[in-house]
Subunit: 331 residues, 2 copies
Amino acid sequence: MKKLINDANTVVQEMLEGMVAAHPHRLKLIQNTTVLVRADAPVKGKVGLVSGGGSGHEPSHAGYVGVGMLDAAVSGEVFTSPTPDQVFEAIKAVDSGSGVLLIIKNYTGDVMNFEMAAELAEAEGINVAKVIVNDDVAVENSTYTTGRRGIAGTVLVHKIAGAAAERGASLEEVEAIANKVINNVRSMGMALTPCTIPAVGKPGFSLGENEIEIGMGIHGEPGIEKTSIQTANSIAETLLTKVLDDLNIKQNDKVAILINGLGATPLMELYILNKKVASILDEQHVEIYDTFVGEFMTALEMAGCSISVLKLDQQLMELLDSHADTLAFKR
Amino acid sequence: MKKLINDANTVVQEMLEGMVAAHPHRLKLIQNTTVLVRADAPVKGKVGLVSGGGSGHEPSHAGYVGVGMLDAAVSGEVFTSPTPDQVFEAIKAVDSGSGVLLIIKNYTGDVMNFEMAAELAEAEGINVAKVIVNDDVAVENSTYTTGRRGIAGTVLVHKIAGAAAERGASLEEVEAIANKVINNVRSMGMALTPCTIPAVGKPGFSLGENEIEIGMGIHGEPGIEKTSIQTANSIAETLLTKVLDDLNIKQNDKVAILINGLGATPLMELYILNKKVASILDEQHVEIYDTFVGEFMTALEMAGCSISVLKLDQQLMELLDSHADTLAFKR
C-alpha cells in the first residue's frame, strides 16, 4: 500500500486538522470530535443542516460545509459510520433554535447512528428532522444497506436543502424540499479499480486486468455485474438508461446532471462520458439545465464514475442556482 | 489499460466537446481547433490571456478559462505541445485590440510552438507578450525542458495575471505582474504511481511496490531520486524545505500554499500533507495567507502531489483575492 499518510489509525483526525489549517476562515473543528462546522455556526434564525458518514468520500461531506449548503459534517473512520455522540455534537453545534435537519445516506450504520443522535438531541429540546438519501438505482439492498444506497446524488440534496435553509425556510419546509430532491434524483456508478482502506492495507476487492464492475457502490459493495471493459459511450448509455428509466424522464423534462469521479479517474474521462450523456439526452429531447463534472463523492482512490440525474421544476432550479460558497461547490 | 474512453486517438477532441456540452454558458470551442475560449471572448478593452500545453493535466488549463483568469486554453494531444497554428487561433480569438499575453509552461516544445504562434500573430498586427513559468525546483533541465519545468505554480500565474487583466491593466503591466508571480512561486512534486497515455496503452515508467520518486515531473520525467515510501510528514518536509530554501523565505514572510494532487491521490491525503506543511510554516513564523488544496495540475491518473509556495506582497494578495469565476478556481 502506497499512500501519503503517517499512521493508518490517525488519517481522519490528521485530515480534519489539515482542513482547518487550510481553511480557518471557513471551518471550525469542534474540540475532541470529528465534527467540522461553518466558522459562523450556529447561524441565527437558520435551520442547521448536518450530514456526514464514513470518511474516504472527500470532498463529501466537509467540502460542502459553508454558506448555502451544510452547517456541519461529521466524519466517521474510513468507510465507517460516525458514532451517535459525534453526530449529537454536530447537532448541538449548529442548532440556533430553529431546528436541525440530518441528511443521511442510506447505509444501515449511518441511519441507526444518526437516528440515535436525533433522539439524544430531542431529549435536550432540539427539534430534529431527518431525510434519507437513496439515489443509487443499481441494486436493492447491499452489503451495508437495506433498500437503495445513498451516493453522489446526496450532494444535490445538500445544495438545494441548504439553499432553502439559507433563505430562512422552516425545519418542516427544508425537510420537505430535501425529500423533494431525494424523490427526483437517481444515480448509478461503476468501478474500474478497487481502493484500499488505510487501516486494512490491501484492496477491498479485486477486478481483473480488463474487468470492470457495473453498479458498484462507493465502498466497493457489489454491483449488478462484472464485465469486460467497455467504451465510455457504452458505459454512459448503461448507467444513464437505468437512471432515466427509474426517474421516468420524458421528453421536455428539465434535468441537472452530475458526472462524478470516484477518485482516480481523470477529468478528461469524465468529460468524455459527459459528451455521450449530453448526446443521449439531446436525442431524447430532455433539456439539460446544468451539468456538474468532477469529484463530488469519492471512494478513496477508486477509479470509476457515477452519473446522477436530478429532475427539476421551477422551485428546484431556483434553489440549485442560488448562492453557495463551500470548498467543493460554489455558485 | 482500463480507461473510460472510446478511442485513444480522439480523447482530446471528445473531452473538449464534453466540456462545452457541460458548460455552454462558460466555454466556446473554436471550430476545427482544440481552443476553448471564454463564452464572451474577446472581452473589449481587456488584455487576452492564453495558456495551454499538452492535455492530461486537467483541470489545467481549460478549467481556468473564465472571468478573472484565462481567456483561452489550447490543448495539445496528451502530454504533447499544441501546434503553433492552434495557439495562433487562440490568440486571434481573444484579442480585442489590447494585446494578448501567452502564459507558457517551460517545456521545449511549448515554448517553441507558442513563440511561433506569437510571431504569426505579430505579423497580423496583434500585440503579443509571453511569460515562461518555471516553478519546479526539483531539477535543472529534464526530459522535455531546458532549465526548470513549469508545473502547478502556473495556476497562480493564471489567477493573478488574470486579475490584473480583468482590472484593465495594459499588456505591459499584465506581463510584469505575471513575471512577478513567476519570480515568487516555486513548486516541487513527487509520484507514487505512473500514469498511462491512452494512445500508448501502458505506463510511461515504473515504480516498485514500495517505491516513490521525489521531484518527478507532471509527464513522468525523472526527478531527484527514487526512494522507498516515506511518511506524509517526511515527504512534506522534503518538498517544502527545498521550495522554501529556493525562495529564500524568511520569518514574517506571507505566503500562499497550493497542495496539488496529481490525479489519483485522495483529498484526504492532500489534507494530511497540508497539516504538516502548515505546522512547518508555523514553526518558522511564516504567515500563511491562504491555502488551496485539490487537483489543479494533474498527470492523468498518476498518484502523487506537488507543493507550491507563492511569496506575497500587498499587490499580489489583492490580486489573488479578487473575483474569479472559472470551473476549477472561484473567488
